[in-house]
C-alpha cells in the first residue's frame, strides 16, 4: 500500500510540475503548486505508516502554509490584475532583463 501511494504521489507531483511549466494562466499555475503540495502530503502520510505519526503532523503544517500561501498569492494576483487587466504571465514581464 505504501509503495503504491508513493507511486501515485510521484505521478501527481510530476503532473503539478507539468502544469507549472506549461500553463500561462497565473491562477492555474497556482493551483498546480497546490497539487504539488498535495502530492508531497500523500508521501508524508504514506511514510508515516512506516516511520511513525510525525509525518501526519508535518502534513498539518504543510496545510497551514498552503492556506497562507493561497491567501497571499491570490491577493498578489488580484493586485496584478488591477494593474495589467490580465493574469496571463506572458504579459507580465516587467522584471524581464
Amino acid at each position: 500500500m505504501v509503495a503504491e501511494a508513493l507511486f501515485f504521489s510521484a505521478v501527481l507531483f510530476t503532473i503539478g510540475v507539468v502544469g507549472v511549466l506549461t500553463r500561462r494562466n497565473a491562477i492555474i499555475i497556482f493551483m498546480a503548486v497546490e497539487l504539488m503540495l498535495n502530492a508531497v502530503n500523500l508521501s508524508f502520510v504514506a511514510l508515516s505508516r512506516l516511520y511513525g505519526v510525525t509525518g501526519q503532523v508535518f502534513v498539518i503544517f504543510v496545510m497551514a502554509v498552503a492556506a497562507a500561501e493561497a491567501a497571499v498569492g491570490l491577493a498578489i494576483i488580484i493586485s496584478i490584475f488591477r494593474h495589467h487587466e490580465t493574469v496571463d504571465l506572458q504579459n507580465i514581464n516587467l522584471l524581464k532583463g
Binding site: 500500500m1 505504501v2 503504491e4 501511494a5 507511486f7 501515485f8 505521478v11 501527481l12 503532473i15 503539478g16 507539468v18 502544469g19 506549461t22 500553463r23 494562466n25 491562477i27 492555474i28 497556482f30 493551483m31 498546480a32 497546490e34 497539487l35 498535495n38 502530503n41 500523500l42 502520510v45 504514506a46 508515516s48 505508516r49 505519526v53 510525525t54 501526519q56 503532523v57 502534513v59 498539518i60 503544517f61 496545510m63 497551514a64 502554509v65 498552503a66 492556506a67 497562507a68 500561501e69 493561497a70 491567501a71 497571499v72 491570490l74 491577493a75 498578489i76 494576483i77 488580484i78 493586485s79 490584475f81 488591477r82 493574469v87
Partner: protein
C-alpha cells in the same frame, strides 16, 4: 501492519487512478473553473487515500481545508476577476465524457453490490475507534512541535495582513 483484502487494494488503486486522471484533466482544461473543479476531485480522492492509509484525521482536514476552503478561495478569485469565460470551450458535447461518466456509475454500482454481499468486519471498526487517530496526531503536535505550532499562528497572522494590504483598493 494490517492485512488488507483484495477489495481494499482494488479501491486504493481505483481512487489513486481517479486522482491521477483528474489531475491530468486539471492540467489540460482551458477554463480555470473546470480546472479548479477537477483539482477539487483530485483532492477528494486524496482524502480517500489518506483514510485508507490510516490517517483519518488528515483525510477530514483535507476535505475541510483543501477541497472546502482553499479551492473555494481560488474559485472566488476566478469569479472576482471574471475569468470563467473562455471562448471555444462550450458545455460537454462529445461522446467519451458521457461514456466515462457511465463507467463511473457502473463502478459505483459494482462497489455497492460487493459491499452489500460481504459483511463489514466488526473488528476493523473497533480497532479504528481504539486507535485514537486524533490523539495520535495531537500528541506530538502539542509536545514536540509546540513551538512550530505557535509560530504557525504568526505565519497566518502575517498572511492575513499581507492579503488585506495587497488586495486593498487604494482610495
Amino acid at each position: 501492519m494490517m492485512h488488507h483484502g483484495l477489495f481494499f487494494q482494488f479501491n486504493f488503486y481505483v481512487f489513486g487512478l481517479i486522482a491521477v486522471a483528474s489531475a491530468l484533466a486539471f492540467v489540460t482544461r482551458k477554463s480555470p473553473v473546470a480546472a479548479a473543479l477537477w483539482l477539487v476531485n483530485t483532492m477528494f480522492c486524496l482524502a480517500v487515500l489518506y483514510v485508507m492509509l490510516d490517517a483519518q484525521f488528515i483525510g477530514v482536514v483535507q476535505v475541510l481545508l483543501y477541497a472546502g476552503a482553499i479551492m473555494v478561495v481560488f474559485l472566488f478569485v476566478v469569479m472576482l476577476l471574471n475569468l470563467g469565460h473562455v471562448p471555444g470551450s462550450g458545455d460537454i458535447k462529445r461522446l467519451w465524457p458521457r461514456l466515462l461518466a457511465g463507467a463511473a456509475g457502473i463502478l459505483l454500482l459494482a462497489e455497492f453490490s460487493v459491499l452489500g454481499r460481504q459483511q463489514l468486519p466488526r473488528q476493523l471498526i473497533e480497532s479504528t475507534a481504539q486507535n485514537n487517530v486524533v490523539t495520535a496526531v495531537a500528541g506530538p503536535l502539542f509536545n514536540e512541535y509546540l513551538l512550530a505550532f505557535e509560530v504557525t499562528s504568526i505565519l497566518l497572522l502575517a498572511a492575513i495582513i499581507g492579503a488585506v494590504v495587497l488586495a486593498k483598493r487604494r482610495v
